[in-house]
């Protein structure tokens, strides 16, 4: 079982080195993680560390170019979600692996059509545990409702969900069991939640659809 933390932010975005993240996550029970940065070449960590390019606020016309460039140097490409039109653009762009920050998108930013596209192209939808921890009252309720909508769409279209801590500090890290506990506030199916912790491996090793010749 490959349980991965979907996204952590090492130094300089955060306060923690990649080696320390690897050690902490290993002791918490993860078997790998995705770091949103460049990792030093030829360095071995306690657990496998995949690197991701985290694209934020990239204009739609430049998305294809940026995603293509990232694939050459990083293992994965994460793109921050926006409104419905922008999200459809992300989901039809070659080389994108995961769409993030859906809880900050406008209402109906991720609709049935987006869910269908994500399922067809095996693009992951990243759900961060941080808003569930850091927000309170109405803001947290809104995030829970949004996550519930995404899980409902997942139940129907079966696109991959990626669970991540989005940690930028040592205190933001959560063990797999803690992440399951927190997401069980939103969705009760623990089997799906465990699958979501493993889904990044499937997304990274995805193959294109079978084409009839």
């Amino acid at each position: 079982m490959h349980v991965f933390d979907g996204c952590v932010f090492p130094y300089p975005s955060g306060t923690v080195s990649i080696a320390r993240y690897a050690r902490e996550l290993s002791s918490l029970g993860f078997s790998g993680c995705v770091a949103a940065s460049m990792a030093p070449v030829n360095r071995i960590y306690d657990i496998p560390v995949w690197t991701a390019r985290y694209l934020t606020e990239v204009p739609a016309r430049l998305l294809s170019r940026e995603a293509g460039r990232s694939v050459q140097v990083n293992d994965l490409v994460y793109v921050q979600a926006g409104d419905a039109g922008y999200n459809r653009n992300i989901l039809t762009t070659q080389g994108v692996h995961v769409m993030t920050n859906l809880h900050t998108t406008p209402k109906d930013g991720f609709d049935r059509y987006c869910a269908q596209l994500a399922a067809e192209r095996e693009i992951g939808v990243d759900l961060s545990v941080r808003p569930l921890i850091e927000l309170r009252d109405g803001a947290r309720q809104k995030v829970i409702r949004r996550y519930e909508e995404i899980f409902t769409l997942q139940n129907r279209y079966e696109f991959p969900i990626v669970l991540s801590s989005h940690a930028s500090d040592i205190t933001h890290l959560k063990s797999p069991r803690e992440m399951i506990r927190l997401f069980s506030l939103v969705w009760k199916d623990e089997n799906l939640l465990w699958e979501s912790l493993e889904s990044i491996c499937r997304i990274k090793n995805r193959t294109g659809p079978v084409v009839e010749i």
Partner: protein, 155 residues
């Protein structure tokens, strides 16, 4: 009638050491914020013991999963960034005390990171935390022995 309780062993990740009163306030705030007063009254959380970075929390039997969820949702204690990691659940305090790690020793040292010499605290498995303030934007604050250029312990 005698109540049945469950006890949860937790590890606190923070730079500071907290008293049981501070810990209780954070736990109570988190439980109330997540579940409201009615469920909080049912869970009946209570801090039994704090020992360094470990603590034992009590709750009513059958509601330990709800308590664990609320513990995971804590992001600060007394305004200091902190995390609480539930480790084990048991029906007796004695069992958890046996499982509580005895060796949590930390050593002061000096390290050179990216050419910057600074005071650090070294704990188990080569985990290094920087103590100095004001340099964190230049170098990472939480590192390992492999990230240092030079490391020597204080006498």
């Amino acid at each position: 009638m005698r109540e049945n309780f469950r006890y949860v062993l937790v590890r606190i990740t923070s730079d500071s050491v907290f008293e049981s009163r501070d810990l209780y306030r954070s736990i109570a705030e988190s439980v109330v914020s997540l579940y409201g007063d009615r469920i909080t009254a049912q869970i009946w959380p209570s801090v039994m013991q704090v020992s360094g970075s470990y603590a034992i929390i009590r709750c009513r039997r059958g509601l330990e999963h709800d308590l664990e969820t609320a513990l995971c949702a804590i992001s600060q204690i007394q305004g200091t960034p902190a995390a609480i990691h539930p480790l084990r659940t048991s029906g007796t305090i004695r069992t958890l005390k046996e499982k509580m790690p005895l060796c949590t020793e930390k050593r002061s040292a000096k390290a050179v990171i990216s050419g910057v010499p600074c005071d650090v605290v070294v704990s188990m498995q080569g985990r290094i935390d920087l103590k100095e303030k004001g340099i964190y934007h230049e170098i990472p604050r939480y590192i390992t022995e492999e990230d240092t250029e030079d490391l020597y312990y204080d006498e």
